[in-house]
Structure formats: C-alpha cells, structure tokens
Subunit: 268 residues, 2 copies
C-alpha cells in the first residue's frame, strides 16, 4: 500500500462516524503534514455511503495542534441536492475538535469551457533538474519529489531575505502514485510556507484555513497518472501575524488541476 | 440606519441562536445578494457573547437557494484558543440548511510585515469615471457605486464575448458607509460573476463556496472610512460547469484590505 493510502485509511464506525490515525510517514515538525489532514477530512466525505459526485471545493480549518495518534471524524451531509452535496466534517482528538472542514461535491458535466490563466511556459523538464534534498526536514517532505525551477530552499534557511515569495516547481508523490482527488488535495498543501521563501529564516508558522478548488475531473486525473505536476505559489501580503498563500497545480500537459488558497499564522 | 446595517440585523435568541431576515434593498435575481448573506453569517459570530478578536478567514457555502424572509442562524464555537477562535455557522429556513460558514477570528498584533502584490497604479480617480448604470439589474447592485476602469458591463450582456475575465473598478457602498469587517465581507462579493464579463450573455450562475481573507485591521478600516476602494477580479478557468474567481480589495491608499476566492456554478 502506498504510504499516502495508509495515512488516509479510515474505519467506518457506522452512520457519520469514522476513525483514522496520523502516519509517521507524513509527520511534520509538530503533528501531521496539513495536506494529509486536509485529504483525510475529504476522505471521510468520499467514504460516506451518501457521497456522490466529485469534489469541487474543500475548506479545512486547522483548529488546534494535532497530536500523533487516533483521529475521530464525523462527516455530516448538511444538504444533498440533485447535483451538489454540502458536507461538514469535524475531526477530534480526546473529545476536542482539532480540525474542521466544509466540502462541496458535484456532478460535473461537459459544458462550454475556457482556460484563462496559462501555466508557465518553456520550463526545463523534471529530469533536467536536481531534486531538493530534504535532509533535516520533517518526514512528510520525503514523500514529495520536488524539483524547483525557482523559489526553492536550496541552501536551507540561510537568512538571505528575498524580495518575493514565489515558487515554481515540478512535484510528485514519492513513491509515484496515480493522481486522484485525495493526492491532489494533499499536494495542494505541499508548498512550503511563503514566509520561509521570503525571509529564509525559521519561525513559528501554521495554516489556519486552507481552501482547495478542484478543476480536474476523473478524465484529467487519469491522463495525469503518476507524472510530475507543476506547482506555482505566491503570497499577496504578510501583515500583522498572518499571510495569505495562493497556489496552482498544473498537469504535465498544462491544464489547471486545482487552485488553493490559505491564511497562515506566523510569529516573528 | 444604513440599509446594510438593516440587512444585517440579528435578534439574539440566547445561546448560539440568532434570527435575521433578507432585505429587499439587497435582493438578487433569486433571493438575497450573496455578499450580504456572507456578511450576515459573519455577523452571527461577531454578535456572539464569546466572540473575541477580528475576522481573519471566512468561508461561506451557499447550500440552497435562499428565499425572501426569515433566516434562523446558529453560531457555534468549535474551539476557543488563547488568540484564535474557530466558528461554525449554519443558516436555515424552514428547518433546512441554506448556507453554512466557518470563520477564524484572531487577535492581530503588529509584526514584521511586507506587502508583496501591488495595487494597479496610475488609475483615473473615481470622480473622473462614470458610475455604472444599474437599470434593469437586481436591487443589490444599486447599493454599490461602481466605477469601472476595465471589464465592466457597459452596454449590458450584449453577447460580444471577450478574451479575458478581468475587471478593475472603484466601488463603495451607496449610501456611503464607514468600512468595517461586515461591509468589507459584503463588498468582496460585489464583483459580477466572471462568466458574465467573459461571455457577456445571461446564463444561470451561482456561487457555491466563497472564501474571504481579511488583511485589514481596525486601524486600516478607520483610515479607509467611507471612501472608494479599488476592486480587482479575475478567473483562472471555466470548466465543466464551474469557474473560480479571485478578487482583491485595495484601500484608497493602496493597501490590501481583503482577498477573496470563490467557486461558481454555471449552466450553458
């Protein structure tokens, strides 16, 4: 079993209740990698017997530090419409909420479509780039093969402040794994916090709210298979203890698979 | 009383429960303008006796069409931390959920800060621009004085398709009203659906999920007072029944007050 699938395993307790657990393979500095937490809450919706359609929008709020161990989840349908579903997920440890989510699922049908933004062009192929060394970094970073075109962390947090907070990289699961909505949700949070890119110094930082929009459908996921996706991330502003971060995940053929946005707490 | 304050009035029923109502002044094609619904759910959090801090992140999911009339709200603290609060809000009509929200409130303290993105420069002043006529449009549009620099709806939905979906405009409440978190939340959703800008033809479209990040604090709001803010909006992709939309609200002195993102359903 792929370590991501192991990390996302849920036991159905009947009704709206599930139980899962953190996975050492996706450990972060404290508790689990947020991308896997986001995906775990989504999985509770997808595993629910009433679930239908594909994910369109997912918001996960990180309510309190998650400790290594068991996570109790409740996924409740707030409303089941004919072609859309609205879900509320609560994840708890020791009876206290540690994360909560809302998810929108929908039937997606072919309609008039028009991409507006374009993926960055004329980039080196992943094979031409060096993989970022994750030595000394939390274990989750080893679950991603990241090859930076710009805005990487080569040389580590050396305090050499940059003017901008942008990154562009090829990234895929390690070991490679065919992309599905769960791995797409997780990889959307695989971008290092923008403040580390901008200031290049260690400091406490943590996502408080993460929203993921899924533009891919099953066909786009199948075409992507286990290849590298292109990730782009940037911030609009760092201000008074919080910054925003927006990211796009592009397929290897240049289609937008997902866009994600978050607000991140920091302390300097 | 300003019509926005009238539209956002809540009666506390004790505990987590409140009641409000839709307002004809902010009516949309069907039911109320989504920006006021978003703000109404936020207001239930701000009016709650346990509320502390200022809004940092707000996600509102539009679960079902809202009918004109009474709205029952429940605002529940999922977790109260020392300096952050996590809330879940459910709005119902006739016992069925019509909208739900999560909100993060926090104490904001002065820290190292660095704006990254810049507001568009060298723009004409609002007074040099013509106000968009809202003749024939739903009543909420009359509650905003919009002066487009680009990507407006002059000439209406004339079917003359555009290549892009971007807009840039000065906007303020009509009548003018000192900006607070509630009016900022509402104005973040005052951008016309991008598909109307891109295709310039009428079609069913509705926001399913709206996320607002607040970069402003009380001091920035006080400085802005009731002046025009600059709004910028665009979309990344229109695909298979949904498109995304991202917007920024800049203060009249060029500071980022809020950024907002949404996924919108459409039918062609």
């Amino acid at each position: 079993m792929h370590p991501l699938d192991a990390a996302l395993q849920l036991t159905a307790l009947g009704g709206d209740r599930f139980t899962g657990a953190t996975s050492p393979a996706y450990g972060n500095m404290v508790g689990p990698f947020g991308g896997v937490t986001s995906s775990l809450l989504l999985n509770a919706v997808l595993q629910h017997p009433q679930s239908a359609g594909v994910p369109v929008a997912l918001t996960v709020n990180f309510v309190a530090p998650i400790e290594d161990g068991v996570i109790e989840l409740t996924a409740r349908a707030a409303r089941i419409n004919r072609s859309t579903q609205h879900w509320i997920v609560e994840a708890a440890q020791g009876g206290l909420v540690v994360a909560l989510a809302t998810a929108v699922l929908a039937e997606r049908r072919a309609t008039w479509s028009a991409p507006q933004a374009q993926a960055p062009q004329d980039l080196p192929a992943p094979q031409e780039l060096k993989r970022l060394s994750m030595a000394g970094l939390p274990s989750w970073t080893g679950r991603y093969d990241m090859r930076f075109i710009g805005g990487g962390l080569d040389g580590g947090l050396d305090g050499r402040e940059r003017a901008d907070a942008a990154s562009c990289l090829w990234v895929r699961d390690d070991p490679p794994r065919p992309m599905d909505f769960l791995s797409l949700a997780a990889i959307c949070d695989s971008f290092f916090p923008r403040i580390f890119i901008r200031r290049r110094r260690p400091m406490p930082a943590g996502t408080v709210s993460l929203t993921t929009y899924f533009h891919a459908d099953e066909a786009m996921l199948a075409a992507q298979a286990d290849g590298y996706v292109l990730g782009v991330a940037d911030a609009l502003t760092f201000r008074h203890g919080f910054f925003d971060q927006s990211a796009q995940i592009w397929s290897s053929s240049g289609e937008l698979m997902a866009s994600a946005h978050q607000m991140v707490y920091f302390k300097d």
